[in-house]
Amino acid sequence: MSETPPSFRSAHQIASDIRRQEYTATDVIEYFIARIAEINPAINAYTEITAQRAREKAQQIDQCIARGEDPGPLAGVPFAVKNLFDIESVVTLAGSKINADNAPANKDAVLIQRMENAGAILLGGLNMGEYAYDFTGENVHHGNCLNPWDLSRMSGGSSSGSGSATAAGIAPISLGSDTNGSIRVPASLCGIFGLKPTYGRLPRSGSYPFCDSLDHLGPLARNTTDLALSFDAMQGHDADDHACADKPRLNTYAELSKGIDGLRIARAGGYFATSDFPQAEAAVDQVCAILGVDRVLDIPGAAEGRAAAFLITNMESSALHLSRLQTRAQDYDPDTRDRFLAGALLPAAWYIRAQQVRHWYQQQVLALFDQVDVLIAPATPCSAPRTGEKILHIAGQPQPLRPNLGYFTQPISAIGLPVCVVPTQDNSTGMPVGVQIIAAPWREDICLRVAAHLEKLGLQAAIPTGIGGNTAR
């Protein structure tokens, strides 16, 4: 074993050790089940632990190795999923009270199947913001998911449990969803890496929808190698998701060590200027300094693109929930319900205009990729706010915190660009703040190459301080 506490060993190291029979998959799973029991009560990241299933899968991996077979690149690696992914025989909560009345899923989501085909072992379902309409990690039904760096602070959302569990060393890899920033915000606030792939890259089959036009799924991990291995394992067309593109698979793992030679990199300016947000500014400054980037490129139409994403999200998700709003409005979190109620009343012409503006904005940004390969932008305006905070100041004006934690992420997912979030640490608070590494559509390999380069030069997921001596386990 290395000096890193076992919980924080990378997924690829765990797989390598299991393949070399330094320990068994069963040893690893028992270790993580015990660690979840110890750590989870403090952070409330897991809502479901599939211990029996994990033990059975671990035995299969161990038997496979004993027969001299290769169980896959993620052999024996524990992972967990946001509870909007279908897990066979488990009710898909999607962070809600209402869905608890549904029948259990009759099969796993496609991405769970693909992770298991690569040898990974599912540990359970993770907390999330109700129906994914959230950036805070607060949940009135299942309890707030807390930040392992400071238990008085938000984990970020809506993939709150994914960010918190992976940061706390109780899920080496987690899967989340990202409609407007729900992988990137918790990755930023919890100090880990997160990949939001290109829209249409990974199939969403077997996951509970939020906004069909904007929903993405992707992995969160403590390092870029684990992100790449899991992303590579999950790629591939699936006809059950009408948005899933039939694209050639990338081998991003093989590209990770290529460095940044030949890549044209610029800092996003204009809408993405950080002068109002000192923590975000310091984070982007640090990344740009490491990369030697001094070029700034305005992103035309970003504010309008964000407004389009805001309307599309509000109106599509409200349409999805209309019947429940009519019959069970009292069973929603009031914050979520009121947003759905407003969205259910908006004119169709606004929605169509928003889709047109999204297309217009896409054309502006795609043209930029003739000049540049990578854009650097903040992931969140600040480090993790304290639980219960409601206000964020933008340009000196108080604004509601909940939607504006996604201020910098929403314009990027609006047009489906691939993004990798890398962690930095804010010197004034010691809390993490993430930075977005953005590339042209279908170039997740470039995002991951740049992130791997930054990781090599020191931007790593540190061990969180908020769960005290428990980290030494």
């Binding site: 249409g200 139409g301 407004a307 309307l311 709003l325 896409q362 489906g416 559509p441």
Partner: protein
């Protein structure tokens, strides 16, 4: 070329809510009412921003599925 579509500057979110909620089959209770009014004002501000973009008013092409890029 027709002029760019515009939204009226006069948007009464409270009146809009009270008129449209029954049409949509929605009951808005006293707790929700002020919040939904606030949210309608926010969405109106977003719609104003969206309508500020000059588009060709002679076309309407909505792809059945959004595709991130025409390039390979």
């Amino acid at each position: 070329m027709p002029p760019n579509s515009k939204l009226s500057d006069a948007f009464d979110a409270r009146a809009y809510l009270d008129f449209t909620a029954p049409l949509a089959g929605l009951e808005i209770n006293q707790d929700s009412h002020p919040e939904v009014v606030k949210l309608l004002n926010t969405t109106y501000a977003m719609a104003k921003m969206v309508y500020s973009v000059p588009l060709d008013e002679n076309t309407i092409e909505l792809a059945a599925v959004f595709t991130p890029c025409a390039k390979p």
